[in-house]
Symmetry: C2
Subunit: 270 residues, 2 copies
């Protein structure tokens, strides 16, 4: 229902990453699985989650998945150490072990280095063939029939900076996270509690606004999104102010909001 409310085309969802097996982070899955059957989905659906989800997925398939129109491909993980759990032509997904009352995974999505774009003028000027272009796209220099070396950076547009996004909830704050999240462009990190409730945060395996912002500052992330606020607070603004006082590029977010990480060309050193 939330996906529908936010206008998300569910048929484009082929991979689902589940942080941990608490109801508020997993129960939405089963309605979606049944909706896919109602919609006649045919393509495989890949689910990445802690290995303990398998028994619940099997229960679902047995009792509620009769007539499932597609295959569920389950990719079980454990959360002992950071590990790449997914990779395709465009991105990788790395699991970040978090610390909570049950095993929790953060997910770090990184764009892969894309092929370079060759300048149109260069193709004309050096009469480049298809083979030449492919090599230049991969980053090689070009040697003309006359033996002249044309450096790659002269032939190609500056590449885009590879973007990264990390999603971390639920977890208490621990210093090892700084290295694991170093330099990500956009970080979603939980901020269940205000700074004054930091003992409660530790006790329940959660973080405070100040801890979220401290992590963002120490890890030199681009922007911090905070969420997963406790129902005990009537207003979110005090938490946002606390976060911004430590890390100005903090934003308080709610379900369904969208944040874009800008595509930036890395200017060459020529």
């Amino acid at each position: 229902m939330q996906l529908k409310r936010f206008g998300i085309n569910t048929s484009r969802i082929n991979h689902i990453f589940i942080s941990h097996l608490h109801g508020d982070h997993v129960f939405g899955l089963f309605g979606l699985l049944s909706t896919f059957t109602l919609l006649g989905r045919k393509t495989d659906l890949h689910i990445f989650a802690h290995r303990d989800l398998e028994v619940t997925l099997e229960h679902y398939k047995h009792y509620f998945g009769i007539g499932l129109t597609y295959s569920i491909v389950f990719h079980p993980f454990i959360t002992i150490e950071p590990v790449e759990i997914y990779s395709d032509k465009h991105i990788t997904v790395e699991l970040i072990p978090l610390r909570h009352s049950v095993p929790v995974a953060g997910f770090l999505f990184r764009e892969k280095k894309s092929l370079l774009n060759v300048k149109k003028e260069a193709i004309r000027e050096y009469s480049l063939g298809i083979k030449d272009i492919r090599k230049i796209k991969e980053g090689n220099d070009f040697i003309s029939p006359a033996g002249e070396v044309i450096y790659n950076a002269q032939l190609t547009l500056p590449p885009y900076k590879q973007r990264s996004y990390a999603f971390c909830t639920d977890t208490l704050y621990f210093s090892k996270l700084v290295a694991l999240l170093k330099g990500v462009d956009l970080l979603y990190y939980e901020s269940t509690f205000q700074d004054k409730d930091k003992k409660l945060a530790r006790l329940t395996g959660h973080s405070t606004s100040v801890q979220a912002a401290t992590l963002a500052k120490q890890a030199h992330v681009g922007k911090l999104l905070i969420g997963h606020f406790s129902n005990r607070y009537k207003k979110i603004s005090p938490m946002l102010q606390e976060a911004q006082s430590v890390f100005p590029e903090s934003i308080a977010v709610e379900d369904g909001e969208k944040y874009e990480v800008a595509l930036i060309r890395i200017e060459s050193q020529l």
Copy 2:
């Protein structure tokens, strides 16, 4: 999330009636069960559902119900014949067997006859004591110390008509329903399909708008609420028009809307 959106105080929910074990009619339960624990619920929660839900409830309790703060009391049923499945001081709930691809229960909620209200003037005029009043509330006449018989209807306000509400989805139309739903004040009945798709309705175990309205007319119900519309239709208005052409007191409803059945005093025959 829907209950919250519609401003329903979930702590007042003590009994849940589940029509059948298809995902769109049952998956919302588990989030609610966990929310109750987050809210620290202490009072028992009674769940009425087909007996096959037990294994899923046990699965939930084992894998997701750790730290459950209250007891779940499961009342399993089968859907072979009409049977009273619940009764308290104020209401009874009767199970109506429906016909679908899996066992489905309709639920018929009936108010019980309430005690009569004794007129204040009568208490003064006849110097009624507590024992007298109790007997009169139960419908008895009063015999004065002088041996005069005062009829109950002279002593009490006209009673309220007992109200009834039936909820029936998912089901195909079958004529036995007419007798089972006879005279209910408010009937929610599914109208998944338009009249032109009645073959498809029968095939998938659903009803059409015209069938819903025909049932309402035959059973002399007060008002008909139709819902559970198929996603295939862009507009609901053609279905509503079809229903109203057969049974004018038809209303098309959506989640969260409220309909009240008026309290009516039955005027005495005196």
